[in-house]
């Protein structure tokens, strides 16, 4: 049986087709989910893709968080459904309080798109179990509001609990605190990542194939998960 991975389209989602492509290349079946439809259509995992949901007006992710599909996803995530939020998806996960902290405007105030080295620090999550601890990967980063911030106590707790999933290496592209690029929830099923692994899945169009590991991880996780 092929795993079915849902990819949500909000109005203003931009990297949704790319996330679906990455799911397919990883060997799973992508299932397109619509923001106004609360049904998850039996998917085994969900990706919240990058983009500018609802124009990112008010605050990135602040409106998407109230979309009908998000109510279902929040409940399902609390029940263990693997959820990966990429870029705007990470912002939505923070707004939905599935992840702590917030993403704010890049410190240099510019949108920045570059190929970025990350160090994978937590390999116990549903989305990173295919990596080696400390593995360095190359994936594109592209955002205007990717500066991760949280209060010192939260940051310390994330570090202590091993919930910093990935850090920027070789230059912090947006001013994120403690170079944080990705974090997870306590259970390890929900991961938010600012860079774009779905754009590093084909030699022709990406800087590497390193992004594929995030999508194969969830397949591995689903196979190992109790039914």
């Amino acid at each position: 049986m092929t795993a079915r991975v849902g990819v949500v389209t909000f109005p203003g989602s931009l990297d949704d087709a790319d996330a679906a492509r990455a799911v397919r290349i990883a060997g799973a079946e992508p299932v397109r989910l619509w923001h106004g439809d609360p049904g998850l259509h039996g998917v085994d995992a969900v990706v919240l893709p990058g983009g500018f949901s609802y124009g990112d007006y008010l605050r990135c992710g602040a409106i998407a968080r109230f979309a009908p599909v998000m109510e279902t996803i929040v409940d399902a995530a609390r029940g263990g459904l693997p959820v990966l939020g990429i870029c705007n998806g990470f912002q939505i996960l923070c707004e939905a309080h599935l992840l702590p902290g917030a993403l704010t405007r890049n410190q240099h105030l510019h949108f920045r798109n570059r190929d970025q080295i990350l160090r994978i620090e937590a390999v116990g999550t549903a989305w990173t179990n295919a990596f080696q601890p400390g593995q360095e990967v190359l994936v594109p980063v592209k955002n205007g509001e990717g500066c991760y911030v949280a209060d010192p106590a939260t940051l310390d707790r994330l570090e202590a609990e091993g919930r910093v999933v990935a850090r920027y290496l070789g230059g912090n592209p947006n001013g994120s605190q403690r170079d944080i690029a990705a974090i997870t929830n306590e259970a390890g099923n929900v991961v938010g990542i600012m860079p774009h692994p779905e754009h590093a899945v084909e030699a022709l169009t990406g800087p590497s194939l390193d992004g594929l590991g995030f999508f194969t991880s969830v397949l591995k996780h689903l196979v190992g998960a109790p039914a």
């Binding site: 109005p11 203003g12 931009l14 990297d15 087709a17 790319d18 492509r21 990058g50 983009g51 500018f52 609802y54 124009g55 990112d56 007006y57 008010l58 605050r59 990135c60 602040a62 409106i63 405007r105 240099h108 105030l109 510019h110 949108f111 920045r112 798109n113 570059r114 594109p140 592209k142 205007g144 509001e145 774009h196 779905e198 754009h199 084909e202 022709l204 169009t205 990406g206």
Partner: protein, 893 residues
Amino acid sequence: MTTHPDPALRETPAVAPQAGPADDWARGVDTVPQAVDTPDELQPYAELGLRDDEYDRIRHILGRRPTQAELAMYSIMWSEHCSYKSSKVHLRQFGEKAPPSDRLLAGIGENAGVVRVSDELAVTFKVESHNHPSFVEPYQGAATGVGGIVRDILAMGARPVAVMDPLRFGAADHPDTARVLPGVVAGVGGYGNCLGLPNIGGEVVFDPCYQGNPLVNALCLGVLPVDRLQKKEAAGPGNVVVLMGAKTGRDGIGGVSVLASATFDEGSEQRRPSVQVGDPFMEKLLIEACLELYDAELVVGIQDLGGAGLTCALTETAASAGTGMRVWLERVPLREASMTPHEILASESQERMLLVVAPDKLEAVLKTAEKWGVWATAIGEVTAPSPDGQPGRLVITWRDQLVVDVPPGSLVDDGPVYARPMREPADLILLQADRAETLPRPSDPDALRETVLRMIASPNLADKTWVTEQYDRYVLGNTVLAQPEDSGVIRIDERTGLGVALSLDGNGRYARLDPYHGTKLALAEAYRNVAVTGATPIAVTNCLNFGSPEDPGVMWQFAEAVRGLADGCLELGIPVTGGNVSFYNQTGAAAIHPTPVVGVLGVLDNVADRVSMGFVPRPAGDHDQLFLLGETHVELSGSEWAWVTHEHLGGIPPQVDLGRERQLAELLAAAARVGHLSSAHDLSDGGLAQSLVESCLRRGVGARIAVPEQFAGGSMPFVFLFSESAGRVLVSVPRGHEKAFTALCAEHGVPWEPIGVTDPAGGALEVHGQFRIGLDELRAAHSETLPRLFSGAETAQVAVEATRTGTTTVLPATAEQPVDVDPEAVAAEPIARAGEAPVEVDDAAEPVEAPVEAEGVPAGSDDVATDAAPEAGPEGSASASGEPDQPAAPDQR
């Protein structure tokens, strides 16, 4: 969400007309009966840019004086910008000299040219200017330039898949460039990124001639199934006319006639309200909604609203079908209820499309619009041509008063056409006699080394990453090559690997020295840039940026440039598919360099065969052989070297031989297909030295070069490295392929010269007997210039951001509730000064006394004194909607 099409059931205006000036004016609206009754009433046609004879012609067409609304419509449709009245007589050559092509599905006269690239797929592409708005308000000017060209592409039935932006600014170190450039770049990025379109290339050029008149050109590429090509004809009497997208506001009123057709003087800041404000989120929804309508075959015709707004869309769709149209203007959803008929007709509010829909499909159209959260409103219907065979009439009422009754074709096709006087500029002979080949040149190794480092750090040759990393190049997942490569390459069919390559090039200095050959050189460079990727060039677009057509010298330059492009395309065997003319690019009496920007599109059967410009890393001991293709002559006039080191512009630009360019392109395509090429990089500005440095730095691979014998001694090594002779390419060839490759060169008649090897382990660029420069030193020189010049602007923005806290004007929006911002407020904000009360800024060239409400001017707007304001919002979006000054109009008829 949507207004009911039945007039009996339509919504009454939410806001009743207010007492006061607006209402007085509304009661006094100029109607057709009134125009008949008062033939002698004085009308402000001169202020609207119409000449006496043009006004007389309108009266003759109508058989009476025009109403105010009609006068506004004629003035914008007959402006230079929409009517191409000065350029038409020259642009005909593109059609007359066009080489035969069986690929062209839509050409000049459409929103954009459409070219078939396989049995199933076609691509459409076009470049347009948004120069004047971008000087007035850099962020919104550039943003709406992207928005406008994207809608042109969308209107052809295509999904937009990439954008490119050729940008030209004044001197890099001029304080005003520090104002304009960061805003333009943020605007291009803010709009394109939020729309989800990869930015795959373009240009960033600095020259003092653009100081008061930067050039912001924008290209969009779209892909469509061949059978999804859309028409703009309002065919089928009884069909419903639907306006879809953003609400209509006062933004951009007068943009066409005021901004695009007048030169800048000291009062230009007063024109800020004429610049439109963009909402890329709305455009993204509009794209998805339109594509869904096309796929369900729900529309008969479609036209985007660009320059001249509703006026242009209504008249063009009707005129192209020969039908008439009946429009109820009060049904247009407004941002401001007090807008008058002529304001509604002239508004250039962004993110709107006009659809022609069969009555039984209307319900489905409105439903699709609702799904995507965009407004769609039935505003009229198509009417039959008159029984005597004459085309139908465009009849517009506003609150039951007849305000417009015109033959639509008279606005679109019957505008004035001028054969303007032309004269070669008097200074040209002297300029051409002042040759750069006579300037002192470096002739010893140390001087040459220093010249290399100085040249690669000069603003035009320096690394543009500071700009391009503000653009998303990955989104949509089909970007195979993007800047700094010679061309952008996009995969358009994931199944077969079919793709296209696109490059845009122009060189104002060459065109200044010789507009005919300078334009051919721009064409040759774009063509070569496409060819080096391995693609086969098939089609051309262009954006012709010139000074005032009323200056005979400028008109001569224009005519020569058009002649050069038409001749060049004939020689290369590829047609011009569309383009854009931008006149009046000048400050006072000083015109910009004539700047034709030429775009060439090529096809790659399989993008996996594409060739990059970067030298390839190899395992220890391995390397590639370097060849220089083409011939190098002593050609330094108009070169980047002459400008950077001597501030010299004179002489005759390099020779251009398009027959040889064609042979070179055929060689490159053949070599790429069989894997002879590890890399290929065009030689242009900065010559071989620049290409070597770029190819080395792309992937951090060094090279060892030997200067060929004929360039030994004196300043000849310098000529070898810095001459800008055309028709040359630097290639690296894997070991074992050299013989086959040179045999292929001989077969295609392309001269080649082995000039060295790549040096993957060496970490340096070495020119034997001359100099050795480490890659780190090259990289530092090449990459530090732009951040050094423009990082100051970042600091300024931080300060502005801080003062803005609490006074943000960025409003939340939901899909159900399109953003609604007073454009005057947004536009006026950046020019409000500390200590002044925020005053309402009226459009300086407002034709009639249109009362403008002061509502919505934020109380804290006097805190904001720089252009950073609009880009301080989330992802740089300043909300609200607006419109470009570009004509959706067919260009170059």
